[in-house]
Every structure is written in structure tokens, then in C-alpha cells.
């Protein structure tokens, strides 16, 4: 019943591929890197974890250069609107690669890898695969591409979270992540199918065009959007789609946790923003009911619930990784606040917040890893008196946590500042949400400060002031991250300019 394409059509397809390939270099390069890592892993004998680590680092570093090339290129759709190249996408490409590199750094610092696993090759390869997935998530403009990239990220993430095969917690994390992820992507794809059914399109630009042109059945629209939201909500880990995250974050290897909590959350937001801004047709005012449902209320509920739940439950945590997991739920809530505003400054605020989150969260996890290397524990009570033994680590961790709370003069404060500015720039409309955000951040101070409290104010049981120096390289890295956190807290102009520049999306004029 389907007739085969004619030669002319095939020609045009090939031409499109050729032309598109030029704008697709970073992805191609990263795929090459991915395969190269596997080959190297097979080829080289003996202990090669360090070598592979540096190789990955370098490889990702180089990809930065290719991404940088794309600034010059004219933005637009590729491959029949499957894929798009715009500042927004470029931002997230940078973001994914940068966080990938940081993940590699953290991995190389983590002793547990030497203890737990024999072959480290696949690990780095999968890391890179995840980077590719995220790069594509941010740039995909077609339901199909969205689905594929999400699955790519998801599959590699399942494996990575279970990478410590002999550690039951790690395996448990993998299982939970797998099942939860599979179900939610199932829901999402079902939602996609319904949208496709309504519009007959899979490109989100054309979907919104269709929807606004021919209208839609609100019931179906609502159902499908809800299912899609479930899928995205699981990626960004917002209440009530967050349940997997505490367990997975706790169980997974720390670098993976950091990577998931930052990069995959960011990629999820990239998708959410793009889909939400573009696919759903907006009326004249962004705040009236869209597609038969009160998106504003729904997202507000999501974000308020996330902020409150994440912060409140974090108070109870004794395991630092789990504590940070809950805090990351709360941060998803803050980010959603920026999304609510649905205008350019809101997007800018989100992007800036993500950048700050990248710095401080990785910093925190890095220190956690260093401490775990020495004390072999991520338990709050084992942090007692560490401030005396590892002063630099203590100071750095304190700075990162203060930044997570959002106190000046740290980059975290500026992130919050932008979010709240975005809210208040709409007059008194969002004051209530801003209040919730403020109050929850006061709560967050309490549990974040529990860590310095243990490190500095309390003495450890075992005597002896043996100083645990995490090593030169680690110290330098920590210091760099710490200094950056403060520096960008004082002179955030470049970051925010970049965020603003990157808030431009193809096929969308923001209010």
C-alpha cells in the first residue's frame, strides 16, 4: 500500500543528509569518541583506567571546540525538522559535555572504582554515550528524536547506575531506575502516539501549528499532555515523579549520581522547555488556560510540591548523598519556578540556575567523594571533626553548601536572585510562589548546615589530629571550583549574558 520513493526523492534525502551533516559534527565526533573508547579498552592491556580517564577528558574537551564552531553557523532545522540547531541547543551541548568532563574528573578521584570494578572501559564509553544522548535531547525537535535521545540517555544511565555489580545497593538502584524509567517512557510514548493521532505530525513546530489551526479534542489533548509530562517529570525528578531519585542517587556510584542529578535533570529541562514553549500553542497571554488545561496551576503545584517535599524530607537524611538527592528534588522545584514565568527572563534564569547548579553540585559531590575515599563513609555522623583534619575540603564543602542554600556571595545566590526576579518582574502575580521558594530555602539552610556543623562544631570520636590530605591535584581542583563558585557569585555578568544569549530558541519568539 505504501509506494516506494522515487530516485529524485532519494536524491533529495541524500542531499539533505549531506547538508545536515555539517551541522551535526559534535554529535558525530562524540559517537566516534564513544567507539574509540571501546576499541582502546579492548586494545590496551593492563591497568588503563587512568589512561582512559584522561582520554575521555581530552576527547570531551575537543568536542567543546566543535560545539564552539557551531556559534558561527546559521541556526535552523536539519534532517527534515528532526533536529534543530539554535543557541538554546548549543548551551545544553556545552552543558552536557562540561558536566560529562566533571563526571570523569570525579570518577578519577573516586577510589571505589579501583576496588569495585575490573574493567573501566565501558564505563567511560557509556558516559560518553550519555553525553551524546543529552546533546541530542536538547536539540531534537521531533517526537521521534526526543524519544530516541531519551532512551539513549536512559539505557546508558541504567547500566551506569548499576556499575558496581557486586554492590547490592548499586544493583538495586539500577533495577529501580530501569523499571521506573521504562514505565515512564512507556507512558510518554503512548502520549506521543495520541498527539500524533490528533495532528498527524511528529515535528513539534508543525504540531503546534496543526493544533492552533484545526483545534483539538481537549480531553485527548489533556490526557496526552499528562502522559508526556509524566515522562519529562521523571527526567527532571520533580514531585510526584521523583520517587526513583533518592534511592537511585544513593545507590549509584557517586560520579553517576552527580551526573544524573545535574546533567540529566538539565537535559530534562531542556526538553520540557522546548516542548512546553513550542508544541503547546499559547494564546495571547501565556497565563490563560492552554489546551483546555490550567498549565500554570499544574506546574505551580509541581514546583511547590517539589520545593517543600525535597527540603522538608532532606532534614531527616543521615546519608550525605541521599541528602543531596532530596535537595536536588527541591532544586527542580526552583527551576520550575523559572519555567512558570514563560518568558525570556524566566528561561534565562533557568539557564543561569543550571550553570550555578553545575558548579556547586559537582563541587559538593566531589568533596563527598574525597571524604568517602578517606573515611570510607558517606554518613553524616562520620563527618564529625573532619574540619580539623581536612580544612580545605571542609571550607570548600561549606562554600558549595552555602551556594546551594543561596546565600551571597556565591553563584547559587545569583541563581535564586534571577529566579525570584523573574517571578517578581510579573508584579504581584507570583509573590506567593516566591514566598514559598524563600521559606523553603530557609529550611534548606538547616539541613545543609548540618554538614559543616558536624565537620567543624563537633569533635570526632577517634582522637589524633592526623591530617587527611586528599592530594595536590584534588586540592587544586577543589580550590578552583570553590573560587569559581564565589567569583561568579560576585561577577556573574558573563554567565548571565551567556544565559541570556542562549535563551533564544528556533521557531519561537518569547514574550
Amino acid at each position: 500500500m505504501f509506494e516506494l520513493p522515487t530516485g529524485a526523492e532519494i536524491q533529495s534525502i541524500v542531499a539533505a543528509l549531506k547538508s545536515g551533516a555539517g551541522y551535526f559534527i559534535p554529535e558525530i565526533y562524540l559517537s566516534v569518541l564513544f567507539m574509540a573508547l571501546i576499541l582502546v579498552d579492548l586494545a590496551v592491556k593492563g591497568r588503563k583506567s587512568v589512561l582512559l580517564g584522561w582520554l575521555t577528558l581530552a576527547g570531551l574537551g575537543v568536542s567543546m571546540f566543535f560545539i564552539h564552531q557551531q556559534h558561527a553557523m546559521p541556526g535552523g532545522e536539519l534532517f527534515f525538522g528532526m533536529y534543530v540547531l539554535d543557541e538554546f541547543a548549543i548551551f545544553f551541548k556545552y552543558f552536557a559535555v562540561a558536566s560529562g568532563m566533571l563526571a570523569v574528573v570525579v570518577t578519577m578521584a573516586d577510589r571505589r572504582f579501583e576496588i569495585e570494578v575490573k574493567g573501566i572501559g565501558e564505563y567511560y564509553a557509556l558516559l560518553v554515550a550519555m553525553v551524546i544522548g543529552m546533546v541530542m535531547m536538547a536539540a531534537s525537535e521531533d517526537l521521534l528524536m526526543i524519544f530516541l535521545s531519551m532512551e539513549l540517555v536512559g539505557l546508558s544511565a541504567y547500566v551506569l547506575s548499576g556499575y558496581f555489580k557486586r554492590d547490592p545497593r548499586s544493583s538495586e538502584a539500577a533495577l529501580k531506575y530501569l523499571i521506573y524509567g521504562a514505565v515512564s517512557s512507556g507512558l510518554m510514548i503512548y502520549g506521543f502516539s495520541l498527539i500524533y493521532g490528533m495532528t498527524g505530525e511528529t515535528n513539534i513546530l508543525r504540531i503546534s501549528a496543526e493544533l492552533s489551526a484545526h483545534g483539538y479534542d481537549p480531553l485527548v489533548m489533556m490526557l496526552s499532555s499528562l502522559l508526556v509530562l509524566a515522562g519529562f517529570g521523571y527526567k527532571i525528578g520533580a514531585v510526584p515523579f521523583h520517587f526513583w531519585s533518592p534511592d537511585v542517587y544513593e545507590g549509584s556510584p557517586t560520579p553517576v549520581t552527580a551526573y544524573l542529578s545535574v546533567a540529566s535533570k538539565a537535559a530534562g529541562f531542556a526538553l520540557l522547555i522546548r516542548f512546553f514553549y513550542i508544541a503547546i500553542p499559547h494564546g495571547g497571554s501565556p497565563y490563560e488556560d492552554i489546551a483546555g488545561m490550567n498549565w500554570l496551576l499544574m506546574l505551580s503545584v509541581l514546583s511547590v510540591a517539589s520545593m517543600i517535599y525535597g527540603n522538608v524530607v532532606a532534614i531527616w537524611q543521615k546519608n550525605v548523598k541521599r541528602l543531596l538527592a532530596y535537595s536536588s528534588i527541591a532544586h527542580a522545584g526552583y527551576l520550575l519556578l523559572g519555567l512558570l514565568v514563560m518568558d525570556q527572563i524566566g528561561t534565562q534564569a533557568i539557564l543561569f540556575y543550571l550553570l550555578s547548579y553545575l558548579l556547586m553540585n559537582y563541587g559538593a559531590f566531589y568533596v563527598v567523594v574525597l571524604i568517602a575515599n578517606r573515611t570510607g563513609s558517606e554518613n553524616l555522623d562520620d563527618y564529625r571533626g573532619l574540619g580539623r583534619k581536612m580544612p580545605l575540603a571542609g571550607a570548600a564543602l561549606t562554600v558549595f553548601l552555602i551556594s546551594l542554600v543561596g546565600l551571597p556571595p556565591t553563584v547559587g545566590f545569583i541563581g535564586k536572585l534571577f529566579i525570584f526576579s523573574a517571578l517578581l518582574s510579573k508584579g504581584s502575580l507570583f509573590v506567593g510562589l516566591a514566598l514559598v521558594g524563600i521559606l523553603t530555602s530557609v529550611i534548606s539552610l538547616y539541613y545543609y548546615m548540618l554538614i559543616p556543623l558536624n565537620m567543624f562544631l563537633r569533635e570526632s570520636e577517634e582522637p589524633g589530629d592526623r591530617s587527611l590530605n586528599p592530594g595536590m591535584l584534588a586540592n587544586v581542583l577543589m580550590s578552583i571550583l570553590m573560587v569559581l563558585t564565589i567569583w561568579f557569585g560576585l561577577f556573574f555578568e558573563p554567565l548571565s549574558q551567556f544565559a541570556r544569549y542562549s535563551s533564544a530558541m528556533f521557531g519561537l519568539t518569547l514574550y
Partner: protein
């Protein structure tokens, strides 16, 4: 700046210099530097004597007034007020001159006396330093020309009195007494301060004259009740300082201080400062305020007199008599006998100082025995003391030929005139109480003289007391204690003599029966009120009628005195008149009818007053003789017979107990309650929360720690519990997670479906 001003500034600062010098260097100096104190005070007295001479004797003018001031604070151009400056200044008039002379003289004598009395004390030098700062602040009160600075010095005398009462601070009784004195005075000062504030809030100035001018011009913005309130509140300062009821309780306890201090501060000068202050503000006191003052004075005079009857401690008797006499002065001011009251202030200062120094000499000689029951027969051992003491006593009792007689009778006459003016019966209570207290005064002083100087020595009757210095010869006989007691040395005798001399009538007035003929009453005429009927008359008429107080060419900046004098003299017909035709002159001066009538009637009542009071005094002394000399009546028996009255008097009308029970206990209770409230209610959310939440058994045990650690109030509790509940959702079973998510989606779906169908 006029030379007299310069001199009075010198007078003010010299004692301060002595204080500063001695407080730092007394240990490095020979004799701990007492000569510095004595010398400085001698010099001070010399200068004030000169001022006295120039002011009183040379220009013999009731209206004499010099003023000088400087800008102390500058508030710039205040919105709604305009340029606002707070000035500090000095005023020298007759009153000031007299007070200067009196204060410095007594202070000098006390310094001299102390060289003998305090010899060998651990903090001998410090004592003179304290005397120095006291004299400084007292002179400040006398000289200052505005309410603010007088308040400052007011508190400073409070401080020095605090320091001196507690000079033997290792005695707990002394420490208690000094605290009591300071706090009682503080209570009075609050009132005074509020009064000052009322005036300031209307006129934005503290200076007496400016305030009087504004008042005379009828610019007082608030109701008349406020003005009365202002008067009464200002008077509260006097109540505190001059130990009037109800704040009199501190003065008797203040006798814990060294006796010279009692003489200087708690008899002659500081306690009189209250009266002096009321005199300064006399013109703004409304009739109602004056009534209050009169009654308080009368009551105080009477109550203190009754208490003095039964006291055993020689100094306490004098203390209560001081309270009583101050009551007289206040009464005098209340009834409008302005000059008389101030006259009594001066005379009382001298003879009461004499009495205290005398008793000090006795105590010194008796090796710090203060209880009159164990004294007696001292006239043989201490003739000088005896004679001076008796003279002063007569003056206090108010027998003719003494200074006390003139001043007291002037007051009583005034009270009579007052009662007649006001008319209704209860105003007669004032003179009645006054005369009755006169009798009591005579009685208890007679008793004291007898117990101390006459009869046989009763030292041996004293129960053995190991702590007392002379415990060694507690029980041995007559001769033994006779060479225990000797007349005191010259440096303690001389002050007695001088003060006794100053208690004789001739110093003040040629006519022993009428102080009105004396220079004093002429130099201190009663000023006309600015509030009485002032609203009736024209402002400038009132201003003219105000006599010396507003009569200056350029009131604000300091200026040349001569000019002032020229400017003044023509403006005071009544002053000139007064000089010419003696006492009668005053009455014409007053624009205010009430004041005029009082002046008139009290002059008329003069002779009656003399007769009645003489009778009273004779009665009093006679009674004393009957009881203690001829023994017709047995004192103890009588005491038994009227036990309740006796106890009431002996226990000082139980005021201390009452205050203890009400105010002190009360505030302590409030304090306890508040701090409990602070700990448990306001802050207690924390601990309360902790206990509350222990009930939630399923929380992990560390909850207390967390809660009590960081959580500050109920939200903390809420946050924590909600956290504790919410986390229960995290079951660890992945399927529940999935179900949750699906439920959420389903929930949304139902919600919006409902919206759609409706």
C-alpha cells in the same frame, strides 16, 4: 563675661579639680592629700564669700541677676521647630550667692572636720575626693540656669551621695542603704524628668527664663491640668531628694555613711537642693500644685517628728528631724511663703550641720557608740560640744533669739495666711500640723539633750558586744569610761563653734522676733507667679509683674552685667518700694490676686504665729523636762500604755515594710515572671516542641537533637513532622513509586475531566 561669672565658674570647678586630683593620686601624697581637699575648699569658700559680699552687700538689690550661657548642643535647623540649640549656662542672683556661700562654707568646715573624724581610715584620701565631687555637683545645682543642667547635677549629687553613703561598703547595711538612696532618688527623678519633658515639649527649651517667658505669654499649648502635672512632677524630684513622704525612707538609712557626710549632704546641702529647686520653679506652680506641695510638706513634717520621738540612735533622731524640717520648708513653699522657706533652708542648714557634727564628735569620743541609751552625762567631758549642741538645738526647736525661730515662724505665719486665703476647713490642717510638729520638735530635741548630756553615764549598762571597739571596757565602772571620753581636737571643734555662731538671730535680722526685717527676706522677695491669674492679664503686664526673673534686656546670650542692672532697676517699682517701706512693700507687687492676698494675710498673721508657736515650743520642752528630768511621767510606762502608737512611731510607721512588701517584692515577682515567660513561652517553642514530638514514636530517635538543635519555633516543629510523615512515602518498593506517579497523573486527569464536563 562678667568677673562674677568667671569667679563662680572657678567656684564650680575647683572642687571638681580636687576630686580628679585626689581620686588618682591620693595614695601617692602625704596624708593621702587631705590638705589638697581642704585647701581647695578653703579657696572655694573664699571666692564665694567674695561673691556673696559683692552681690548681697555691695549692690543691695533684690532684682540683682547675672546670666551667662553657651551653646552646648546644636541640632541645626530642625524641621517644624527651626534652629534648635541646647544651651548650658550660669545664673548668679541673690539666692545663688547666698547658697554658694552656705554650701562652700559648710563643705569647707566638713572637710576640716573630717581631717579629724576620718583619720586613719583605709580610704581616707578617697573620702576627700568624694566630698570634692559632691561639692562640685551641689554647686552645679545652685548655679545652673536651665532644667537640663540642673537635672544633670541633680543625678550627680545622687551619685556622690551614693558613693558616700556606701563609703564603708564592706558593711552590707551600708551597701543596702546606698542602693536604696539611689533608687529612691531615681524614682523622684523620673517625675522630675517627666515634668521637664512636659515643659520642653511645649517650648523646645530648657532655660528657666525662656520657659517662664513663654508661660507668662500664655503660650502653653496643653491644658492647664498638664501644667499642674508638670509642677507636681517637677516637685517629685524634690520629694526624692529632700526625702519628703512618700520617698523619705532613704534618708534615715543614709546615716550609714560617715557622720561628716550626714552633716554635709543629708542635713545641710543636698537634701535642701530639692527645696532650692522648687523655689527655682516656684513661679510656674499652679495653685493646685501648690496645694499638693503644702499638704505633702505638712504631713512629712508631722510624721517625721512623731518618728523622731522614739528613736534611740542619736543620728537617726537627727535624720528624722531633718526630714521634718525639710517638710517645713516644702510646706512653706506650698503655702507661698517663698522667702520664709528659703530662709529656713539656710538657717536649718547651719544649725543642723552643727548638730550632726556635734553628734559626730560625740560618736567619735564614745568610740563609735551611737545609741543614746548608753550615753549620758557628757556635758562634763565635752563642754564645747555641749554648748554648741545646745545652741543649735534651741535654734532647731525654734526658741526666740535663734535663727530657727525667725524662719520657722515666718513659715507658720505664711501657712496661717494661706489657710485663711483658701478658706475651707481642711486647709487649716496645714498650719495645725505645722504647729503641732513644732511642739514635737521641741520635745524630742529636749529628750535628746537630756539623754546625751545630762544625768549619769550609762555606758556600763550596755550589754557586752564583742564587735564594738570599746567592748574591752564594756562593764567597768565610772572612772574607767571617763578617761575613755574626751573633748575632740580643735579641727573638729572649730566647725562646731562657727556653725553655732551662725545659728544666732543677729546674723540675719536686727529684730529677734521678725525675720522680715532682716536682709535675707529683703534680698529674696517672693517672685510673682506666671501661671496663677496670668491668663487674665496681658502678657507683657505679666512679664513685667514677674519681677527679677524675666527682667533682662537680651535674655539669650551672655552679656555685661552693668547693662543688665541698668535695664532692670527701673522695671521693679516693687523692689525699690520694698527697700523703702520694708515688708509691706511686697504685697502690692503681685498681679495675681491670690498670691497678693496670701502675702497680705500672712503678714497679718505674723504675730499670732509667734504666739502660738512659742506656746507650742514651751509645751514641748516642758513635756520633755517633765518626762526626762523630773520624771513625773515614766517614759517606758507611757510607751507601754500607748503601745500601738509607740510601735507605730518606733517602727517608722512601717513604711519600709510596706515598700518591701509591695514595690520591691512586686517588681522581683514581675521580673521572675517575665524571665520565665522569656525562657518558656517565647523561646520555649523549642523545648515544648521537643517534648511534644517525643510522642511521635516512629520518628528516629535523633529527632530531639535535631529539633532542639536548629528549630526555632513552631514552624520548625511543623516542618519536621511533615518531613517525618512525607518520607514515609519512600517505601523503597519501586512498584509503589510507579503507582504514585500513575495516581498523580490519574488525579490530574480526574481533576481536569471534572472541570471539562462542568
Amino acid at each position: 563675661m562678667h568677673s562674677l561669672i568667671q569667679l563662680s565658674i572657678a567656684v564650680l570647678l575647683l572642687p571638681l579639680l580636687s576630686f580628679v586630683f585626689l581620686i588618682f593620686f591620693n595614695r601617692r601624697l602625704p596624708r593621702m592629700g587631705d590638705f589638697v581637699g581642704v585647701g581647695m575648699l578653703g579657696l572655694t569658700f573664699g571666692i564665694s564669700a567674695y561673691i556673696f559680699w559683692t552681690v548681697i552687700v555691695q549692690h543691695y538689690d533684690p532684682a540683682f541677676r547675672l546670666a551667662w550661657d553657651f551653646t552646648w548642643l546644636d541640632f541645626g535647623n530642625v524641621p517644624g521647630v527651626g534652629p534648635l540649640q541646647i544651651k548650658m549656662g550660669i545664673v548668679v542672683d541673690n539666692l545663688t550667692a547666698i547658697m554658694l556661700a552656705m554650701v562652700t562654707l559648710i563643705s569647707f568646715l566638713v572637710h576640716l572636720y573630717s581631717t579629724g573624724y576620718m583619720k586613719g581610715d583605709k580610704y581616707y584620701g578617697r573620702f576627700f575626693a568624694y566630698l570634692g565631687i559632691f561639692t562640685f555637683s551641689m554647686l552645679g545645682i545652685v548655679l545652673s540656669d536651665n532644667l537640663f543642667s540642673i537635672y544633670i547635677f541633680w543625678e550627680l549629687v545622687g551619685l556622690s551621695s551614693y558613693l558616700l553613703i556606701g563609703f564603708f561598703f564592706e558593711k552590707d547595711s551600708a551597701a543596702d542603704a546606698q542602693k536604696k538612696a539611689f533608687l529612691a532618688n531615681r524614682v523622684g527623678d523620673i517625675g522630675m524628668w517627666l515634668g521637664i519633658l512636659i515643659l520642653y515639649s511645649q517650648f523646645h527649651t530648657f532655660s528657666y527664663r525662656e520657659i517662664f517667658e513663654h508661660l507668662a505669654a500664655g503660650e502653653f499649648g496643653l491644658s492647664n491640668a498638664w501644667l499642674t502635672a508638670a509642677g507636681i512632677l517637677l516637685f517629685m524630684g524634690c520629694v526624692g531628694k529632700s526625702a519628703q513622704f512618700p520617698l523619705h525612707v532613704w534618708l534615715p538609712d543614709a546615716m550609714e555613711g560617715p557622720t561628716p557626710v550626714s552633716a554635709l549632704i543629708h542635713a545641710a546641702t543636698m537634701v535642701a537642693a530639692g527645696v532650692y529647686f522648687v523655689a527655682r520653679i516656684f513661679v510656674l506652680l499652679t495653685p493646685d500644685a501648690l496645694h499638693v506641695i503644702a499638704f505633702i510638706g505638712a504631713f512629712t513634717a508631722f510624721m517625721a517628728a512623731t518618728i523622731a520621738i522614739t528613736q534611740q540612735d542619736i543620728k537617726r533622731v537627727l535624720a528624722y528631724s531633718t526630714v521634718s524640717q525639710l517638710g517645713y520648708m516644702v510646706l512653706g513653699l506650698g503655702v507661698g511663703a517663698y522667702s520664709a522657706a528659703l530662709f529656713h533652708l539656710v538657717t536649718h542648714a547651719f544649725f543642723k550641720a552643727c548638730l550632726f557634727l556635734g553628734s559626730g564628735a560625740i560618736i567619735h569620743a564614745m568610740h563609735h557608740e551611737q545609741d543614746m541609751r548608753w550615753m549620758g552625762g557628757l556635758r562634763k567631758n565635752m563642754p564645747w560640744t555641749f554648748v554648741t549642741f545646745v545652741i543649735a538645738t534651741l535654734a532647731l526647736a525654734g526658741l526666740p533669739l535663734t535663727s530657727g525661730f525667725m524662719s520657722k515662724d515666718a513659715i507658720l505665719a505664711g501657712s496661717l495666711g494661706f489657710a485663711e486665703t483658701e478658706g475651707s476647713w481642711y486647709f487649716y490642717l496645714v498650719p495645725v500640723l505645722g504647729f503641732f510638729s513644732a511642739m514635737l520638735t521641741a520635745f524630742y530635741m529636749g529628750r535628746q539633750i537630756w539623754l546625751v548630756f545630762f544625768g549619769e553615764s550609762r555606758t556600763h549598762l550596755k550589754p557586752a558586744d564583742p564587735h564594738a571597739h570599746h567592748g574591752a571596757h564594756g562593764h567597768d565602772g565610772h572612772e574607767e569610761e571617763h578617761h575613755g571620753v574626751h573633748e575632740v581636737a580643735w579641727n573638729m571643734r572649730l566647725p562646731l563653734v562657727v556653725l553655732a555662731t551662725l545659728s544666732v538671730f543677729i546674723v540675719y535680722s536686727p529684730d529677734p522676733l521678725d525675720g522680715g526685717k532682716g536682709w535675707f527676706m529683703k534680698m529674696i522677695p517672693t517672685p510673682a507667679t506666671v501661671v496663677g491669674a496670668v491668663h487674665a492679664v496681658e502678657p507683657e503686664a505679666a512679664a513685667a509683674a514677674m519681677g527679677p526673673l524675666v527682667a533682662e534686656a537680651s535674655p539669650l546670650e551672655g552679656h555685661d552685667a552693668e547693662a543688665a542692672l541698668h535695664a532692670e532697676t527701673p522695671m521693679h517699682p516693687e523692689a525699690a518700694h520694698a527697700e523703702a517701706s520694708g515688708e509691706h512693700g511686697e504685697s502690692h507687687a503681685f498681679a495675681d490676686p491670690r498670691q497678693a492676698e496670701i502675702a497680705h494675710l500672712s503678714h497679718a498673721a505674723h504675730n499670732r504665729a509667734i504666739q502660738i508657736s512659742s506656746i507650742m515650743v514651751v509645751l514641748g520642752i516642758g513635756l520633755a523636762l517633765i518626762v526626762y528630768v523630773f520624771r513625773f511621767i515614766d517614759p517606758d510606762g507611757t510607751a507601754e500604755a500607748i503601745r500601738p502608737l509607740y510601735l507605730l512611731s518606733f517602727n517608722k510607721w512601717y513604711w519600709d515594710e510596706i515598700y518591701q512588701a509591695t514595690f520591691i517584692k512586686g517588681s522581683m515577682l514581675i521580673a521572675a515572671i517575665f524571665s520565665w515567660f522569656d525562657r518558656n513561652i517565647i523561646d520555649g517553642m523549642v523545648n515544648g516542641v521537643a517534648t511534644l514530638t517525643r510522642k511521635f514514636a516512629f520518628f528516629n530517635g535523633s529527632f530531639d537533637k535535631y529539633a532542639v538543635d536548629g528549630m526555632v519555633n513552631f514552624t520548625a516543629f511543623f516542618v519536621n513532622t511533615s518531613g517525618g510523615v512525607l518520607r514515609k512515602l519512600q517505601t523503597g518498593k519501586v512498584q509503589t513509586y510507579v503507582v504514585m506517579a500513575l495516581l498523580a497523573v490519574f488525579g490530574y486527569f480526574v481533576y481536569y475531566f471534572a472541570q471539562l464536563v462542568s
